[in-house]
Structures are given as C-alpha cells and as structure tokens.
Chain length 109, copies 2
Amino acid sequence: MSENNQLRDVFDAIADPTRRQLIRLLAGAEEIPLHELTAKFQMGRTAVSKHLTILKEAGLVTDRKVGRETRFRLNASPLREVQDWVVFYSNFWSTNLSRLNRLLEEEEE
Amino acid sequence: MSENNQLRDVFDAIADPTRRQLIRLLAGAEEIPLHELTAKFQMGRTAVSKHLTILKEAGLVTDRKVGRETRFRLNASPLREVQDWVVFYSNFWSTNLSRLNRLLEEEEE
DNA sequence: TTGACAGGACACCGTTTGGTGTCTTATCAT
DNA sequence: ATGATAAGACACCAAACGGTGTCCTGTCAA
C-alpha cells in the first residue's frame, strides 16, 4: 500500500532521543532546512544530518533542495507499524483499555 | 505512579528485533525460564541473557529464580510511554483517526 | 555422590553508533 | 566579483552493541 522501501527498521530509527526530537520539530512545521534544525541542538551540523539520513532511510522524513538549503519534511505514516505493535500489548498493562483496543482494531480494517 | 526506575530508554529496549521477539514470547505465557527462551533463537544463551538484561533495565521484564532456573515475566506497562508518543503522531498520517485519538486521550486521564 | 543441567560472570571481538573536524562546492547578497 | 552561508562528502574516533566462548557455581536426579 504505502511506501515500503524502508532500508531501516522504524523501531531502530525512533530509538534515539535526538531523532525523536527531530520528528517533534518537523511535526510543528511544513518544512525545516537543515541549518535551522541544527540550531535547536548542541551537536554539530554533520551529526544532525546523519540523524536525518537515518530517519530518511526509515521513510520518516523526506527532503528537497531549495536554493542552497535542504529542507526536511515529516512523513509519519511508517509510525503506524509502531502503533500496531504497541496496541497489541496494551492488553497487558490494563484490562479496562481492551474495549478501546477493539475499537482500534476495527478501525484498522 | 508506576515504576519509573528504568535505567534504560524503553524506545531503545524495543529497537532490537530479538528483544521484540522476547516480548512476544513472554506475552504468551506467565513465566518462561531462560533456557526455554534460548531454545527459540539461533544465538547462544549468553546473548539471550544480555537481551533480557536490557529489557529488565527498561522495566519491561522481571525475573525470579526457581530452583536452578531463572524465570522471566513480561511487564508491559512501560510500553505505555511508547503508546503515548506514537498516538500523538497518528494525527499526521490519517485525519479520520483523530476521533479515535480524542477517545484515547480522554481515557488516559 | 556423581553427573548433567541452568545460568551467572567474564573476557574477548568485529561492527555499528554517534559524535567530531576539515575540505569543497553551490548559492545568495553586497 | 567577493565574501558569507548551506550543506554534502570524507576521514576519523571512542564507546556501545550484539554476538561468541569459557569457567565456575548451584541445583536436580540416578
């Protein structure tokens, strides 16, 4: 259905707190260029760029060049796999959520 | 509220496919001893034990000694953090799920 | 009581990870 | 035309990861 050309495991991609922060930042705007993202972190541009590459490999981010800057955009849909995975186990931490889980499963179909 | 003594990031703990497989196995039974878990994998006992240690550090697993064997048990509740995290982004991959998300948020309180 | 089994504790190893710095190229503004 | 900015492409590095094998101890069964 959607893009399954991800070379990188989504669970692996979201394991790093810096990358989750990047996702959070990208969720707050249409597009953000690398230098602007870099400004939000203590680390250098190269490191941030590497994290974005990993997110790209997982299909969580797309990029396009505009002038001299590279702008990044969030594509959250691969996170659905995480959602599907975790919802299964929500039965195990609370029983009164099981009604909601059934709702979710219905909606998935 | 619940145990927050986790030395290890939950997202990090579930990043490895072997560890997700361990969680899956432990979800299917009350308790499973190490040697029995090891039998399900190709790798050796030491490796499986290390993975279980990581899961333990994330609070996802508890263990108890019974005779000469160490039995492991799933504690899924730290996965709630993952659920909370991913639910936020479900707005970004589908708009007709937002009703369900509101349901989830209500239930969380 | 002897042997087999379960598993903790190490030491070890190759690869990956997460960062750095530097060099170069392309682009924009003056 | 010149200088500053954006970022790709590397080389490099220490530390963590994901495995291995070995040794030792405790426990169960014959």
